[in-house]
Amino acid sequence: MLETAVATRELTLGEAVREALAEEMRRDPRVFILGEDVAEAGTAFKVLSGLVKEFGPERVLDTPISEAGFTGIGVGAAMTGLRPVVDIMFGDFAGLIMDQMANQAAKVHYMSGGRWRVPMVLRTTLGATRRSAAQHSQSLHAWFCHIPGLKVVMPSTPYDAKGLLKSAIRDENPVVFYEDKMMYKLKGPVPEEDYTIPLGVADVKRVGEDITIVATSSMVQVALGAAKLLEEYDVSAEVVDPRTLWPLDEQTLIESAKKTSRVIVVDEGYERYGAAAELATVIQAGAFYDLEAPVKRMCAMHVPIPFSPPLEDATVPTETSVFEAALALCGRSA
């Protein structure tokens, strides 16, 4: 986290996203925003507030409720000289756009023998515990991660969000950019000066010796909280944030695993056939002979996400559950 040392002010993750968009739109007139209620309303989460005032309705366009349609329009616009940033309000709506993303955006470059490009960013959200029930609480990033031709970015701090979003917008490929709804109000240091963070470089959020907690997006803060709790038990946890699930910085994950010999992967997607399985498999393959125990996964319970608070709270990893699992993995008990 060297970078944040130079930071001079605090922004929320939402503000960092907005600032990244504003700076890129100033830098490059080809960049524009397409989505539902993105203009005057600034999205349902108010993340884009003010952008339409600066850039006008020609560059911040409200669309009908047609996710497949405007994602497809984004693909075509990206192929023909523009740099669309498509806004999909809830990541749960991925099911409506998978053909546009997986069969069109992801494949155009390859199918054309490299002659067409799709420099487009699809911003969307993930995360539960907002009492939004089964169709508005999912973290479906694994679907996109599975498709060659797409890149998938999962920032966990305002600093990363800004730097990674700018890289995503400058990238020549379709990039899916995930924002955790619960993290929009999270504050963190973000320097005034222009900077970008390359896609494909993991970040060690906390250095430790005894156990590695690989965490993505919303789960990074949970992992850091668990690491604090572990301190009191003299367990030193290293928290590694891949930051982008594709491209994936395998080396950093594997090296940390080799160093600590114990690993937990925490991701808010459904556990089964999810992103955590890939991270666990990569680590097992790369650090197999150094591991003291199998890599443990902690993810969303394999159930549709319920509305009722006591039920929903039981479906996601928490500081306590990660802390307890880590302690147990180190052969210790609370």
Binding site: E36, D37, A39, E40, A41, A44, D62, T63, P64, I65, S66, A68, G69, D92, F93, L96, R130, R131, S132, A133, A134, Q135, H136, M301, H302, V303, P304, P306, F307, S308, P309, P310, L311, D313, A314, T315
Partner: protein, 325 residues
């Protein structure tokens, strides 16, 4: 002494009572939210009561409906009980879905409610499939698909309208045009003419004043009749207005619609006032009788809230139940 036929009078009084029930229910939902007693958000049906009530008055109890994120009114109009509705909104075990669904997913087989849906346009296929079953099984049921005008943006709606038309399915697509897709006026998101769209798919299309429960009922009764006779699907365009915000948290709305617009609709086009005026003018019921009815409904709602607030949450162990049948 009223000149109105008894059956008509009864129907209108029934519709009035249900509209008042929805109105008081929703006002209480908003109250529970503002007092932080309800988890999450809710999309209130205030101002649109005549659509759900007029439509469901034309249905049998075993007819099917699918509802939306703004579904409380549809569920109540189709016969759901306020107490189990509130229990669901509060995430209690006694709720219609054991607390697993919440405000946007109330479902109830006993009243033919296939479920509210939080995906805009998400229930178009389900409603059409229910109509498919009704036809294949010869049950004489019809299916009603409620959705807002924003769902006109979802392609799947046209896919299923086309099939409903080809197969002459007994499904009625009820489009509640409250003029806003969240915070965007529908004129900015809707080209052409929705009625012509429906006609282009061979679906009988009609438009109605969504603030007049009697008009909604008559229009719907005709379309339901057609559908039961086997003459196929229909599209009903009901012009209405939501009195409150897109959801309970949508307080300052000036940036997307004028206060005067809201005031106009509340003052001039309140569906409850419209029906009340007719009932009194036609001597179907006196103000006194209607006020008494309102008091009864109010008490029922209060009892329902009591029931729901004192009802227990499901045990956390229930979380893994009902994933598979």
């Amino acid at each position: 002494m009223s000149t109105i036929e008894a059956a008509v009078a009864d129907r209108c009084l029934r519709m009035y009572r249900t509209m008042v029930t929805i109105r008081l229910f929703e006002e209480r939902v908003n109250d529970l939210y503002t007092r932080a007693l309800m988890p999450g958000l809710a999309h209130l049906y205030l101002g649109e009561e005549a659509v759900a009530v007029g439509v469901c008055e034309a249905l049998r109890r075993d007819d099917y409906i699918t509802s939306t994120h703004r579904g409380h009114g549809h569920c109540l109009a189709k016969g759901a009980a306020p107490d189990r509705m509130f229990a669901e909104l509060l995430g209690k075990e006694a709720g219609y879905c054991k607390g697993k669904g919440g405000s946007m997913h109330i479902a109830d087989p006993d009243t033919g409610n296939l479920g509210a849906n939080a995906i805009v346009g998400g229930s178009a296929g389900i409603a059409t499939g229910a109509a498919f079953s009704a036809k294949k099984l010869g049950s004489g049921q019809v299916a009603v698909c409620f959705f807002g005008e924003g769902a006109l943006g979802q392609g799947v709606l046209y896919e299923v309208m086309n099939m409903a038309s080809i197969w002459k399915l007994p499904v009625i697509y009820v489009c509640e045009n409250n003029m806003y897709n969240e915070y965007t006026h529908f004129s900015e998101t809707t080209a052409g003419d929705p009625l012509v769209r429906a006609a282009g798919f061979g679906v009988a299309a009609e438009s109605v004043d969504g603030q007049d429960a009697r008009a909604v009922y008559s229009a719907m009764a005709k379309l339901v009749d057609r559908a039961r006779r086997g003459d196929g699907p229909a599209f009903l365009w009901a012009n209405t207005y939501r009195f409150a915000g897109h959801h309970v948290g949508d307080i300052s709305r000036e940036y997307y619609r004028a206060k005067q617009e809201e005031q106009h609709w509340k003052a001039e086009r309140d569906p409850i006032k419209v029906l009340r005026d007719w009932l009194t003018e036609q001597d179907v019921a006196s103000a006194v009788v209607l006020d008494k009815m309102q008091v009864e409904v109010h008490e029922e709602i209060e009892r329902a809230v009591q029931f729901a607030t004192s009802a227990p949450y499901p045990d956390a162990s229930r979380v893994t139940e009902d994933v598979y049948a």
